[in-house]
Subunit: 343 residues, 4 copies
């Protein structure tokens, strides 16, 4: 099957490789001509412009956008006029699902089909395959199923589920038509919200393990410091790389995120390569917004998001308010710290 791919970053370039490896034909375009050049190989045709890309696709055309969420609208504005009724646009990036609803309606007026595809898998997706969460018209999803099947990990990627007998479903292949427009990115949004929570759980637990030797440390004994009542219970120097490795086998908390964590800790046991400023790319925020609209409590997911904000210093003013109040009622003066870390 033939598909156009716009955007040859980490994700797009890998997806082109996986598609061609599975026998599909790609016409590719990127703002950076070098990226196009690098992608060309048997089964991959380069395009020098959107017009060129469109002209090289046979109808009904299918064009996959794999670009930052912030530029999707601009790309659509340039791309849509070049297409014909019956053509298909797929947004495989991290768009907000509400944008999908709007875009789908706008493109429908031009009789262009629009699918939103939440794509999970990261840089490992090339080998591991991509988990695809798809929103849009059923027939269009069916039409493109060879593409989705090629990108997805396939049934062998996980043990079969006991008692499962849904022959018509593609979920076991690793791709799923979740519902009408926006449903794909809605499911991907919540997927990422969950991801934040999972990551926060591991991060906090590892931090507790790392400080299991706090009883060995010297502590200030002034009125501003809570004394540790049982220092003899915190004498453990734990090896986080070994612990995450052992957890990978047989424990209840085995996961791919744990595998990645063990890998990073193996290479860099103190995580000195990182400063701990954690970005967030929107889905976590939107998950909380959706939960609030639905009146669904999400204390775990929101705690994980807010910790990321804090990691970037965004709680600092609030912290100053606390110190100001303590100064107000107790005359407390802040403790200074050459290093920020204490207990």
């Amino acid at each position: 099957m033939q598909i156009g791919m716009i955007g040859l970053g980490r994700m797009g370039a890998n997806m082109v490789q996986r598609l061609t490896k599975n026998g599909h034909e790609c016409v590719v375009y990127d703002l950076k001509a070098d990226a196009v050049k690098a992608a060309i190989k048997p089964g991959v045709t380069g395009a020098s412009s959107l017009e060129d890309l469109v002209s090289k696709l046979s109808k009904p055309r299918a064009v996959w956008l794999m670009v930052p969420a912030a530029v999707v609208d601009a790309d659509l504005a340039r791309l849509a006029p070049l297409l014909d009724a019956g053509d298909i646009i797929i947004d495989g990036g991290n768009s907000y699902y509400r944008d999908d609803i709007r875009r789908g309606a706008e493109l429908a007026a031009q009789k262009i089909h629009y699918l939103d595809v939440g794509t999970s898998g990261g840089v490992a997706g090339l080998e591991r395959g991509y988990c695809l969460m798809i929103g849009g018209e059923k027939e269009v999803v069916a039409h493109l199923s060879p593409i989705f099947a090629a990108l997805a990990p396939g049934i062998g990627a996980a043990p079969p589920m006991a008692g499962r007998n849904k022959p018509g479903s593609t979920a076991e292949q690793g791709y799923l038509h979740c519902g009408p427009q926006g449903a794909g990115h809605f499911v991907k949004m919540v997927h990422n919200g969950i991801e934040y929570g999972l990551m926060g759980a591991y991060a906090e637990g590892l931090n507790v393990l790392r400080n299991a030797n706090v009883g060995k440390q010297k502590h200030d004994t002034d009125a501003e410091t809570t004394p540790l009542r049982d220092p003899e219970c915190y004498q453990y120097d734990l090896d986080l790389a070994e612990i995450t490795e052992v957890w990978r086998r047989g424990s209840v908390i085995t996961s791919w995120l744990l595998d990645l964590t063990a890998q990073e800790l193996l290479t860099d046991p103190q995580l000195e390569n990182f400063a701990g400023r954690v970005s967030d790319s929107g889905e976590g925020r939107w998950t909380i917004n959706a939960a609030i609209d639905e009146a669904v409590p999400v204390p775990v997911l929101s705690a994980a998001l807010f910790q990321r904000f804090s990691s970037r210093g965004n709680a600092d003013f609030g912290d100053k308010v606390l110190s100001a109040m303590r100064h107000g009622f107790g005359g407390h003066v802040e403790k200074t710290a050459p290093l920020k870390k204490d207990s």
Copy 2:
């Protein structure tokens, strides 16, 4: 190798099976004679009392306790006097690590060795193997390594870690000597604390997905109800069983807990088998206590624990305080609800 097993519940009985399957010899005891009887087979010798069990073990004896944390001390009080210097007791249950420190010291006075072994794997451990987190004396751990190796999943249970080269380590086998007495249960405690957080993340996310059709529902329009501003954005009827299945392949949030969740949702899509009263068995609480002693922030893990408390109705009085305050300042009268669920 020969080992005594006290406690033939779900965990203990399975562990005996796994040990004998791997060529070890077990002498087993349980308060329930039926449980002992059921366990007897080639390689497994039944015992009618602690005395009988001790008499059937050769020195240095190794006795594994797999009993509820609440009865460990009572069992030790009866068992220890029957043992000799150089014998070994292993507590494989979910003891609080501080009890290990105390018990280790008490038993050392009798020259009995004591290991604490955090055991993860649940009912699946029989097939999947158990992840073992071990605290105690190095030599004693080494002595029992054949037992640990038999119980653990083994290296094949997870893909090898790129760049790993620690020949002396057993972490890749699925068991690990974490440190001195208490270290095993400390690591297991945090493991379970993480588990709570992971579970909370999936639970909250699935709840958000399930309510993605809230825009289709009728809403009260009184002053006590927040109107949904964009009902057109919440029109999705999502199939949670299918979504958890598709996530199992290629997504960032693949995990064993996700596998289990997909299995449960396949069998019981609305989870009607469950009322949502969630127990907690101590480790989550102790993890938060340790974090507080260490001054390590654990917003995700604590949110998960507190949600369990709430699920059992323990927030009810606090909720009444909120309603009372609202009555006080705004004359608000509570809304009644035939069903508790609303939005």
Copy 3:
């Protein structure tokens, strides 16, 4: 000064009383003719329709809306065509500040001025005065300052602030021009977000006090129940009504909300008048949304909001997911409970 008041509910009717007591003249309207009738007295003129109300006001007219947020747009659509250039509309309810921005622009096209006024004080405002947070054009705010001063508590309502010397500011009077359109409701929104957090803090603390006798209670001793390690430390039967009363004098946590809580506990020590289903009226949600847009961490405020959602049963499905997972990995069966409360 003359003002029109639309909406004679708890808030509007009281405000009319406070305005006339301070020498202002009110023309009042409500959908319920009885409410209009009840409000008429010296200084208060009733109106039988919006047209009637508008006709009884002298130009430039000032019309104050004190209606549920959900009907403001409908009221504006009927009211605005009856007004003339230079007239003023004040929205004193709990509108979302983004609606103010939109409405302000729409009305500006008709040369009608629009102020958004966040109004705090509840049913006590009649005697205590209302705290007013105002957004809109500076000159219009200045023009209406006699009205605001009459509604506000006045400088005597709180001790003067040491070192304060801002003669031009009205903040000490209890009303404040916060900024352009929307600023009043933005500040009121966050005010309510803080209110949720404060309320949650008291509610949780009182719940901890109430359960200080948990050591006296019988506890199950099965594997699904965490044993209480130190029952002798939880033997206190505390009198919450007395404790909240004593805190009202000299403690760091004195507040008006505490006064109200003490009052409710005095009347109903077990809060049996309440079921604990806690409504939320939007501002708490919008505060979290704003925080997320700003990337400001709000773990306390969001925890308070989510607890309200939980109090209405909205965590139930998530709780079922947790029980399902526990069933999956440990074969755990939920404990049943005739009463929901346990520990």
Copy 4:
């Protein structure tokens, strides 16, 4: 009445002043001879040692300890042997209530009475009076009631509660016998736990207000930064000093903590005097521990505590784990920041 006071820090010295102003006689001691010297005036007798202090008190002696929690046990060890049966020791500091239970039992063996008195009021207590939460024997509390009444704010410090008619209760005076030994510090502990939550609520809300102009700021447009969708809704430059001042009158969130906050913001609008490293002195931690033992959910109070830990950099390692995971699955590289603050 006569009382001995040990510890003349901020709290103890002020309490001596308040006691003598109300006609009581104090014998005072502090490790710092200067502090003793400074306290001497009519009604105040200095002591040069514990022995000297004890010798100057008439029986039954009453000795009030106002020293850091960490040194109470050492002081008791030196003081108790100097006292006689029937004498009274009062611990007015911030002891852990479990220490009270132990100390009470130890001193009872010597027939010395022990009261634990949670004392709230801070540096303002001298003028405002102290809120006293008392644990211990009923008769001993009654015997010392003149002392408590002198320290407490008195009935005039708050408006009377409608319908209150408890003539025998002292709660309206500002002091309360809460229950047996430990009850006073238990109630004070939860008081401080609530205090943390209240402070967190204000701090977070003010942070949201402060960033209401985030739409005016330049934002990076890379894949690591979530774009702000509606910058036009975040154009407010809000004056926090004015807003906290206006809230002091008539709003639902009036409180003493708000008064203090307004005062600090008046003096230092950007809170430049503070770095935002917030200490915690134990009671907040113990409140969470108690809640966990009781299985009472405290998401608000714990969020407030954990934010303090984060403010001291104690989340840093966890944040690095998050960055490491993001590197693992997405190849994400952390953004650097010359300033920590961003959005």
